[in-house]
Amino acid sequence: MADKNLNFLVVDDFSTMRRIVRNLLKELGYNNVEEAEDGAEALEKLNTGKFQFVVSDWNMPNLDGLEMLKRIRASDTLKHLPVLMVTAEAKKENIVAAAQAGASGYVVKPFSAATLEEKLERIFDKLGM
């Protein structure tokens, strides 16, 4: 069972989507959630070292989710951070691209709390969290 006090960072350019994800996480008992508008802002926040989990959208201005993920994996301090990618379509190409960039998991929009929980559990399971 994962620690409910984990600090989550939700990355999405659309505020409503951020709020939806935040609410879903809250519903699952995770109350420490912060938001970032794009990949660049997210990296800044992540570099504070405060976060233990990232849920990120794919298509964003400035720095998209995939590029952000690649930079996270390339960073010595951040490379072990679990990143759950949110994709708009369950397309094989997208998911393979996410996987190869080092995503810890993916979830397809729209999703419910149950789906999100399942995806999180899977990542915790794998990482032994």
Binding site: P110, A113, A114
Partner: protein
């Protein structure tokens, strides 16, 4: 830990319902979250001639041509402006994808079966036969919209009328 559900579509009718809440002319509406593909801003819509005013036209959504309906006009609301705050809910209706413009989108709520009441005959903007029921959350009342029926009704004219013999 909650039971892991392998397939959301397999949820039975008695289960909780998750809805995306949107506002339209002072009323709050709810639509099944599983029908919602994404939420976007309003941009670059190509007008189509000789269609009802609430059909704003079509737009390019990742290579697909998707119609955009302004529910505010459909429901006769004032000040249907289009700016960077205009919100489009992209919905999956049957096998089609349709964008619907609303006033705003607020949050996602989970409704238990007890919180959902059948729809009375009431005088809100949406016609009663498109309403699944009323959801009450604390002191808020949500009008739960049956999006498939709403979009396939002949007045919305999204889908061509079903042939007489099919």
């Amino acid at each position: 830990m909650a039971e892991v559900i392998a397939n959301d579509a397999a949820r039975d009718a008695a289960a909780d319902m998750e809805v995306l809440v949107f506002a339209l002319g002072g009323e709050e509406y709810g639509v099944d979250i599983l029908k919602v593909q994404e939420i976007r801003g309003y941009n670059q819509v190509t007008r189509i001639a000789n269609v009802p005013e609430f059909v704003k036209g079509v737009t390019n959504l990742r290579g697909s041509i998707v119609p955009i309906i302004d529910a505010r006009i459909k429901f006769g609301l004032e000040n249907a402006a289009y700016d960077q705050h205009t919100v489009v809910i992209v919905l999956n209706v049957g096998e089609r994808v349709v964008g619907v413009v609303v006033d705003s989108v607020s949050d996602v709520l989970t409704l238990s079966p007890e919180q959902i009441k059948p729809a009375p005959d009431f005088g809100v903007a949406a016609a009663t036969d498109h309403v699944l029921g009323l959801g009450s959350v604390d002191d808020r009342m949500l009008i739960l919209v049956d999006i498939d029926r709403m979009m396939s009704s002949s007045e919305l004219a999204i889908v061509e009328e079903v042939e007489a013999i099919a």
